[in-house]
Amino acid sequence: MKESLLDIVCCPLDKHDLDLEVTEREAGEDGEITAGTLTCTDCGETYPIEDGIPNLLPPDMRE
């Protein structure tokens, strides 16, 4: 995912902002974030980013 996606997405539970923590990023200035975590600034729920795709399903809908 691109960092600028943070302007468009939010926590699916309470619609608050998400904090991004990057653990893996492609090379280059605008490199895609391939692995990391999104954390809700309000409720603290965490959402994983895997293979460049953020999983923003509510926790009860994840397998």
């Binding site: 995912m1 468009i8 509510p58």
Partner: protein, 213 residues
């Protein structure tokens, strides 16, 4: 000579092996909705109308989103799906992918254009398949199990001058969908329509209703 023939063969074998391994790891043979007539109808309308930040909800293989990205005037095209295999397929096509449920993970007013070809086949609750194919097709008993929660949340996520293009089949009850959308403060207008032997497909353009209406 740039490459010995044996080298070429070995390379080819490697490529096949890699592709098969990738297919297995990524579940490329897993059920993901394949583009059909409804996808073509939605893609045509979307290429014409999509502007700004565009989201395709339930993007499946990402085919519609990719057409809008390559042929339309949108500044950014995102595809979302509950199905992880669909997200991977769309991402591999070059579409920004998000795993999510309907409009749940999108900010208030963030979307200039929303596209949705919902699962709409009316299904018997005692006879459901409980797999990704069902998730892609079944609209519950009324055919509107996904359409109604989408319409409940649309006015929140849609930008003030934004538009949503919703594919509606006569099987899901066209008049019921329009009535439901209007009751949620939306203005509905049909922008494309095609008839098939068992259903009529319409593209409904949904916008915020203004005070003048």
């Amino acid at each position: 000579m740039p490459e010995a023939p044996e080298g070429g063969d070995a390379h080819e074998a490697d490529t096949t092996e890699t592709r098969d391994a990738l297919a297995e790891r990524r579940g490329l043979d897993a059920p993901v909705y394949a583009p059909a007539e409804d996808s073509g109808l939605l893609a045509g309308a979307a290429v014409e109308h999509a502007r700004g930040v565009t989201l395709e909800v339930g993007t499946g293989s990402g085919w519609v989103a990719d057409r809008v990205r390559t042929e339309g005037d949108a500044t950014r095209v995102i595809g979302s799906d509950v199905n992880p295999h669909a997200c991977e397929r769309a991402h591999d096509r070059g579409v920004e992918a998000i795993r999510g449920d309907l409009l749940g993970p999108f900010r208030d007013g963030a979307l200039d254009t929303v596209l949705f070809n919902p699962p709409y086949l009316p299904t018997d609750p005692d006879n459901e398949w409980d797999d990704w194919q069902e998730v892609a097709l079944s609209g519950g008993e009324s055919g509107r199990d996904l359409i109604e929660p989408f319409l409940d949340d649309l006015a929140r996520a849609l930008a003030p001058d934004g538009v949503a293009l919703l594919l509606v089949s006569s099987l899901a009850g066209f008049a019921d969908v329009v009535e439901y959308a209007v009751a949620r403060g939306l203005h509905a207008e049909t922008v494309a329509e095609e008839s098939y032997p068992f259903e009529t497909l319409s593209i409904l353009a949904l916008r915020h209703r203004t005070d003048r209406e």
